[in-house]
Amino acid sequence: MEKKTMFLAIAAVAVIIVAGVGAALLLGGSGSEDTNAKIVLLQKTSSSPAYSPLDKTAVYNGSYPLSRYLYLYTDGVPDHASSVYKWLSYVLNSSTGQVLVDDAGFYPLQPSDLNAMKAQLAVSNTTGPTGDFKEGGSTTMAELSNLWSYDFKNATGITVTISLGGSGTGIANFINGVVDVAQSSRAMTATERTQAAAAHLNVTEWKVAVDGISIIVNHDNPVKVLTLAQLEGIYNGTYTNWNQVGGNNQAITLYGRDGASGTYASFKDLVLKHKDNYSQAMLQFNSNALIVPEVQNNAGGVGYVGIGYAKEASGTPATSGLMEFAGLIGLSNRW
């Protein structure tokens, strides 16, 4: 009699657990890719026009408020024998490196900037490493530098080893001499330049691409436009509910990057006006790609990501026909 009850009890428990697991698997799972996030248009004030980061011209001419450059930092301008020189000329070439900028979802440099960089490259003032070298830093630029390094290796045989960690990490490593080139989604600060000078580094800044930090919200969020002031209020914790900025009655969940990130720093400068008052409730992520699924899954979520990641989040294709063209002219020997 006892044995039977025992077995029944076990069976009941097992069935409940399996049913629960099954139900959860059906409810949860990775259906997160079905609901795309939305990119929010930004306006400088409530009376100025609103721009989208997908608007290339607006990003280029600064009408989109959160435009920024992506950078590489080296120790001086290396001479032609150096592999860093080859890397820079590859990156700054409009038919190689700059095409891949498009694939990664960012915007290539405008001709004026590109020519300025090429002019800087022409005047070498140091020797650099020949052979393989190390680069590190920005995770925003991770996928871009993946494309670059892979293609560069196929073209020249030189391995550019990339480590991530955020722009702050890359710059710190650059200053500490453990990487040769830093990739950064923000400019070096004055303090960092001083530290670099103290380490006998001739800091040389290279603009390599243009980005528009994009604000993404959940698919079901009716908010389409935000002013910079509202964005600031959202991210410094002043606004805690979407109905305070024209949306539904839904608590705001903040997603952002961690302190090592260049995007974290750029956003702080551009939106929080250099004030260090990010809300403490902001979830901090190691990379842009982590922010996207969170926003897609959370009705009250808002996040800031580089334009390439926003395009992926909203289902916009990264390039417009350039990929097919690249494939045609033989750049498809990538893999």
Binding site: A24, G166, A260, Q280, L283
Partner: protein, 303 residues
């Protein structure tokens, strides 16, 4: 006479060989001792510059961890709370289940079941933490979100649950060992006096094995406190000071992993990380000490 000389020489050679072997062993021991002490010294030594600039009180009671801003804030409480929240709640979940499983293994399972179940649980112990983190970030968080609708999908409960999963194998193996080393005579005496098996477990076996079980709990909590990757991937890493299990938290280990990469050497931020590391070390040391004390204290009582 000649044989005596021969023997002396033979023993001489042997002696030399033997002492050279012991010298090698001594050398290895010295290296390990020196290296480990040096390492500990480095930890403490690099924490001192930090405490010269920031008072320990400020460090231990500040509720704002924000070293990247000016002026930097070095309050460790949010991190400490994050660690406590995930470890404690994880322990609360893991201890009953782990102990229950251990009791099952020692007392109730048939030898055949035991032979297959034990290695299965030890497999769980061998799974690397990043795999647990993967599961927590991708799957467990969705399940929790479906059931609890938390404020943030990655939260302290997610971290606590995955830590519980990581603690259970340790608890089961060590508690099982503790219960196995209780002398059979105690159990037999209890049964002889008319107690049934459950009552024997409850009133004789478990209390007798308590020191070992206490040590097991201590070690498991120590593991949870020291876990890095699983919590980084599971908890969202917000630096807020909160006790809400459904909100995102950052543990001390996560803060170390996130910050260590971006600090330049010999800055205040750099030294602050050693302070956090030292605090972590002190906490695990305290847990070990308590576990050892419990073991020593209760061992006398039941031996």
């Amino acid at each position: 006479m000649a044989s005596k000389v021969k023997m002396k020489r033979r023993f001489g050679l042997k002696r030399v060989l033997e002492s050279s072997i012991w010298s090698t062993l001594l050398f290895c021991a010295l290296i390990s001792v020196v290296v480990l002490l040096l390492v500990f010294g480095y930890l403490v030594g690099n924490a001192i510059p930090f405490f010269e600039q920031i008072s320990p009180i400020q460090f231990l009671t500040g509720t704002n961890w924000n070293p990247g801003v000016t002026p930097p804030a070095y309050g460790v409480l949010p991190l400490l709370m994050g660690t406590l929240l995930v470890s404690f709640v994880g322990a609360v979940i893991a201890i009953p289940i782990g102990l229950g499983c251990a009791i099952y293994l020692t007392e109730i399972a048939s030898p055949r079941v035991r032979r297959y179940l034990k290695p299965t649980i030890e497999i769980l112990a061998g799974v690397p933490s990043v795999v647990y983190g993967l599961f927590a970030a991708l799957v467990l968080s969705d399940w929790l979100a479906a059931v609890f609708h938390p404020i943030s999908r990655l939260n302290a409960l997610n971290g606590a649950l995955i830590l519980a999963v990581m603690m259970i194998p340790i608890l089961v193996s060590l508690a099982e060992e503790a219960m196995n080393s209780v002398p059979k005579s105690l159990k037999e005496a209890s049964l002889a006096l008319g107690a049934n098996r459950y009552e024997t477990i409850r009133r004789t076996l478990v209390p007798a094995a308590l020191p070992g079980i206490g040590a097991a709990i201590g070690l498991a909590i120590g593991r949870a406190v020291g876990e890095t990757m699983a919590v980084i991937m599971a908890t969202g890493n917000a630096t807020q000071f909160t006790a809400n299990i459904f909100s995102s938290v950052r543990t001390m280990t996560a803060a170390l992993a996130i910050d260590v990469q971006e600090t330049a050497v010999a800055t205040q931020h750099y030294y602050s990380l050693f302070a956090v590391g030292l605090l972590l070390f002190i906490i695990t040391f305290a847990i070990n000490l308590i576990a050892d004390y419990i073991m020593a204290r209760f061992k006398e009582a039941y031996q």
